[in-house]
Structures are given as C-alpha cells and as structure tokens.
Amino acid sequence: MIESLDPRVNRAAIELDNHIEPLSPLDQWETYEVFHQKKRGDQHMHVGIVHAANPEMALVFAKEQFGRRGLSANIWVVNTKHVFASTYEDADIFETTSEKIYREAGGYKVMDKINQYKKSQKA
C-alpha cells in the first residue's frame, strides 16, 4: 500500500504494483471540435478539441476546457468525423485570389479620373 504525503492518495488505498490491462482503442471515445463565441455578435472560433462519449458530454468538457476564464457566450461542438475540410495540398486554389483586385474597393481609383477631369475643365 502506498504511504503518501497526500492524504487523498492514502484514502484511495492504492497498491504500488497495481498492474492494469492497457486501455483499448476508443476507451477515450471520439473527438469533438470545439467552437467558442466570446460574446454575442462575435463569430464562433475554433479553439481545439475534446474527447467525449456523446455531444452533451462534449459540451460539458468544452465548457471546462475552453470557458473557465474570460468571456464566453456560447459554444458549439461538432464530431470530428463530420468535418469536411479542404486540403493544404490544394491550397493553390486560393493562389490567384489576391490578384483579383476588381473584387476589392482598392481596385477602383476614381479620384485620379476626377482630378484629371477637373484640371481639363479649368484649362
């Protein structure tokens, strides 16, 4: 029996050579992706995962793990197997996005034209 400095350990009456069967696969259940919203109006943000046996339990763990200090308004959990994601190998599909300046406000320089027009009117 362990004689510990920790009274909790002594109360648990633990044998030192308490060999146990190894944990089998899924002993720690599945994983859930956690999305956390700090306050109303904010986007939910992915913050990490928890292991849980079901969605309700995932919410409880997510609250403990990601909501125990600071602001929290709302949490979503999604079973990892239900997340459908793009791959980093295909990241080139985003490569030309920044070239498409016609999609940006900055792609339109009206002041140049206006100033030129005003100048021509004065002449």
Partner: protein, 331 residues
C-alpha cells in the same frame, strides 16, 4: 507547466542517419517552409524523424502536466486558507487541462490518446523528472508553483514559436494560463519569505530541496549533440538546454535574492564579463537514475495514475453504451 524538451538521456549518444530514406525533394520543400517561418500542419508531408521527435516531446510534455498535478495536489486538502485552496485547485485544473491540449496536439501526429496513456502507466514514456520528488510541506508546493512553472514558461514561450501548428496553438493557450501560475506561486513565496521566522525557514528549506531538481529541469547540456542541431533547424527545439537554464537563472536568481533567500550553491554567480551564470554542475548521474525510475516518487506517481485509469474504466465504458442505438428484435 512543464514543457521539458530534453532529449532522453538514454538516447543522447545514438547517432542517427535519420534522413537516409527521405525523399530529397519533399524534404527540401519541408525545410524551406520552416525556413520561411510557415507552420507545418498535421496532414503535411514531414520527415519520419520530425514526427517521431514531436510525438515524443509533446507527449512527454502532456504527461508532465498530468503527473505535475500530483505533487501540487498533495496540498489541496491542507492549503492555508480558502482563497489559496481555490487558487491551487484552479492551478491544478489548468495543468490537467494543459495535458488535454497537448495530448490533442500529439494525436494529430498519429498517436492515439489511449496509446499515450498506456505508455505513461507502463513507464515507457517519460515525464518531467522534477515530479518524481515529493512536496514535503506547503512551501514545497509554493516553490513548485513559482520556480518550476517559471522554468516551464521559459521553455513553453520558446516552443510556442516552433514549426508545428497544433503544438504552437496549444502552447499559446497554455502560456496565457501559466502567467497566473507564476504570479500565484510568487505571491505565496513572498508571503512566506516576508512572514515569521518559522515561515522563512520553511520556504528556505523548500528552496534548498528543490534547487537540484530545478537545475536538472532543462536537461543536460546538449550543445554538442548533432541530434539537437537538426531539431533546432526544424524548429522542434527552439533553444538549447543550457541557454534556457541561463535565461532562468538570469530572470529568477535576482528575485530569489531580493527576498533575502539563499540559493544552495556556493559557486552560483554571474560572470560580469561573459554575462553568463556560473554554477556547480548539476549531478547528471542522479538525473539519469531518477528518470530511469529510481527517484523517491516514481513508483507512487505511476501507481496513482494506474489506479485512476482503472477505477474510471467502468464509467467510461458505461458512457460509451449510450451511443449504441436500440434495434427492435427480429423475432
């Protein structure tokens, strides 16, 4: 706590030809990405050695958080005052939460949490050596919270700038919480050091006990290991053990002296010419002996873990049963 990036002392002298069978083109792209300061994400191609060392390191870090909760938890039931009890419970919960974050990061590299727990409870995986020592008094728990956490922060802040995305994200969350641990620990040590002669004596004795493990904390000098070189190039390891130890001494020895406490090393002083701290070389044989199972608490720590896993097993099983759907019998 307690990112301890030391290379297993049993492995230091193995010379690996770790890159022999890696595709040179993929390797070059991988290294260029790291060189550019980009992160590696779980499904990216990575050298086998990178994956292996990261799993080892993150897993070991996770185990250290879990086991570290034991010496500190020793004093929860007898913390002096309700506020300190609440704070200590909050800190210990944080440490266990850190383990969850780290295990998750290691899982993304392909090792299941069950496998990690199995390797911990059979003694196959290591954890930070400091937790194989007992917390004799409340003051020991205070010294742990201040100085072991301080050491861990130096390590974790460095590793948070590493190359592996999930580890960095976990460390960013962890470091935020560590700042509370450090302040909490410092506050407790200051209370004792500025208190009655009995309290001062108590905290000085705890510091004396913990100084050798603290000096061991960053691991043996590894500047000469080629192993370290490639891990630093891949930003798995962000600073040498000696550099982190120097940084720790530089930040905390003056704070210890400020309180009129002494460090039990007559050779400890800052060399004003080199700017480096000089100290008695820690006893690395003791370090190796303890890490290999010979410390005062190794057996207890693992027995307590096994006990927790075993007594919780039926609960985990019972919860799983809720997932199975009821089907009406055929006949």
């Amino acid at each position: 706590m307690y990112g301890n990036a030391y290379i297993d002392p049993n492995e230091v002298n193995k010379t690996h030809s770790v890159l022999a069978d890696e595709d040179p083109k993929l390797l070059a792209e991988f290294e260029a990405r790291i060189e550019r300061g980009e992160k590696i994400e779980p499904k990216d191609w990575m050298p086998k050695e990178y994956r292996k060392q990261l799993i080892r390191m993150i897993e070991q870090h996770g185990h250290s958080e879990i086991i570290g909760a034991l010496p500190e938890g020793t004093w929860i039931t007898r913390a002096p005052g309700f506020k300190r009890k609440l704070a200590l419970m909050a800190k210990v919960q944080d440490e266990v939460g850190h383990a969850q974050l780290l295990y998750s990061a290691a899982e993304t590299l392909g090792k299941s949490r069950e496998a990690m727990i199995n390797d911990l409870i059979t003694g196959k995986s290591k954890y930070s050596n400091v937790f194989n020592y007992p917390a004799f008094t409340w003051a020991d728990a205070c010294i742990i919270a201040w100085l072991i956490d301080a050491g861990a922060i130096i390590n974790q802040v460095a590793n948070a700038k590493g190359s592996y995305g999930p580890y960095c994200r976990a460390l960013d969350r962890i470091c935020t919480e560590e700042s509370f641990h450090l302040k909490y620990g410092h506050d407790n040590v200051v209370t004792l050091a500025t208190g009655t002669p009995v309290q001062r004596k108590m905290v000085q004795e705890a510091l004396n006990r913990w100084w050798p493990p603290i000096m061991h904390f960053f691991g043996p000098s590894d500047k000469i290991s080629s192993h370290t070189e490639i891990l630093m190039k891949w930003k798995v390891k962000m600073a040498t053990n000696d550099d982190m130890r120097q940084q720790f001494l530089n930040m905390y020895v003056p704070k210890i002296w400020d309180l009129g406490l002494t460090v039990p090393d007559a050779n400890l002083k800052k060399n004003e010419t080199t700017g480096k701290w000089e100290y008695t070389e820690p006893d690395w044989d003791e370090f190796k002996r303890v890490i290999n199972g010979g410390g005062p608490c190794n057996a207890e720590r693992l027995a307590v873990r096994r006990n927790a896993e075993e007594r919780g097993r039926w609960v985990r099983e019972a919860l799983k049963a809720g997932q199975t759907a009821y089907v009406v019998p055929f006949a």
